[in-house]
């Protein structure tokens, strides 16, 4: 470390190597701060960036880099946090990820209030603005194509869960076959009852699987029919969702802004129809279109 660096104020960030953290793109000048009229003395702009509290003043503010009509929303971050080695280490720290994911999303949602956005995955980092511009240059056409698709649209997500015990109970009451078997078990001898019980359990299990597939499939198809694009994602296990019920559908939909109410109503109807059977619906939005801005499009389905 040079003498100059030793003497430098810790907050003199021109001496510190900074990297560029990319949040998203917009197709018009993004609004990144509160209007001046609302700002009181000492107040901070609306969006705080990825570097967090260690980095003071202007450097941590999201700003934008313009290139060919594309606006990249970015902020400066420190090497000691975001270099390849340090990033790898931090990515094993759940609390760090939780904090950074929240900031990433907050910035993008803030920008999304006034502009169409193309969100990037967490952790897209450049050494220089020139490199960022080069990336924009390399994919400019694909980004512009995405903006044409996304303008005036929103992403909404549907996660469907199943309370297995509740559904089993509903099936037990609904399925004639099973009701019949229960009667037979009641009047059967010990050995026969045991065998019948096993048979009943298997039938219950098979019916359960069929019903889950049916409800998941139906829910997806209904919303897909009301959307421009739809996508099915990996199911998340209970250990991740921390719920008592099992995820049976993880899906996302790209929808015209003025058609969103159709989906909300459709979900309400699904709830009315299936809640009693232990099927629970989480319909959330609007989200930045994470699921519909891939540079390669093979996973999306058209509605």
């Amino acid at each position: 470390m040079s003498a100059r660096a030793n003497l430098a104020d810790q907050n003199n960030l021109s001496e510190v190597q900074m990297l560029i953290y990319l949040y998203c793109l917009t197709n018009k000048v993004p609004e990144l701060s509160r209007p001046v009229i609302e700002m009181k003395a000492g107040s901070r702009p609306l969006l705080d960036g990825m570097a967090g509290k260690e980095v003071k003043n202007l450097v941590d503010r999201p700003y934008f880099v313009e290139h060919q009509g594309l606006y990249a929303v970015a902020s400066k971050v420190k090497e000691n946090e975001f270099s390849e080695a340090n990033l790898k280490k931090n990515l094993t720290d759940f609390e760090w990820i939780r904090a950074k994911a929240s900031i990433h999303e907050k910035v993008i949602e803030g920008v999304m209030k006034n502009a169409c956005v193309i969100p990037f995955k967490l952790g897209t980092i450049f050494n220089t603005e020139d490199n960022l511009r080069a990336m924009l240059d390399g994919h400019a056409q694909a980004f512009k194509q995405n903006f044409r698709k996304l303008e005036g649209k929103e992403e909404w997500g549907l996660k469907v869960y199943c309370d297995l015990e509740k559904l089993k109970s509903a099936i037990g009451q609904e399925e004639a076959k099973i009701l019949k078997m229960v009667k037979e078990i009641d009047s059967a001898s010990c050995g026969k009852a045991y065998l019948l019980k096993k048979k009943k359990e298997q039938l219950l299990k098979d019916t359960l699987t069929n019903r889950i597939n049916e409800y998941g499939q139906k829910s997806f198809e209904i919303l897909k029919a009301l959307s421009l694009e739809a996508r099915i994602n990996k199911l998340l296990p209970k250990e991740v969702t921390e719920r008592h019920d099992e995820m049976i559908l993880n899906s996302a939909f790209l929808v015209d802004k003025d058609k969103v109410t159709n989906l909300i109503q459709a979900v309400d109807r699904l709830k009315a129809k299936y809640n009693d059977k232990g099927i629970n619906f989480d319909f959330t939005g609007p989200w930045p279109p994470y699921n519909f801005c891939s540079l390669s499009k093979e996973k999306a389905q058209s509605g």
Partner: protein, 71 residues
């Protein structure tokens, strides 16, 4: 409907992680790490998943159906 419709803060965090960790535009910047390789982080339990296989083991008997994302 300007706001994200959520039930609670925990629901939001799950939804955010389900998006920012491996969705959105995925290109190599200058710092090349793959969060997908780092795997999905469990909320609370802080367990690292290494594969779908591990997920199935932790969950018990898998629920099979057409609703899984094709790998």
């Amino acid at each position: 409907m300007d706001d994200v419709i959520t039930k609670s803060k925990d629901v939001t965090l799950l939804e955010v992680l389900d998006r920012v960790l491996d969705k959105g535009v995925i290109i190599s910047g200058d710092i090349v790490i793959s969060i997908a390789d780092v795997d999905l982080i469990y909320l609370g339990l802080k367990v690292m998943l290494s594969s779908v296989e591990t997920m199935e083991q932790l969950r018990g008997a898998p629920i099979e159906g057409p609703m899984q994302e094709p790998s």
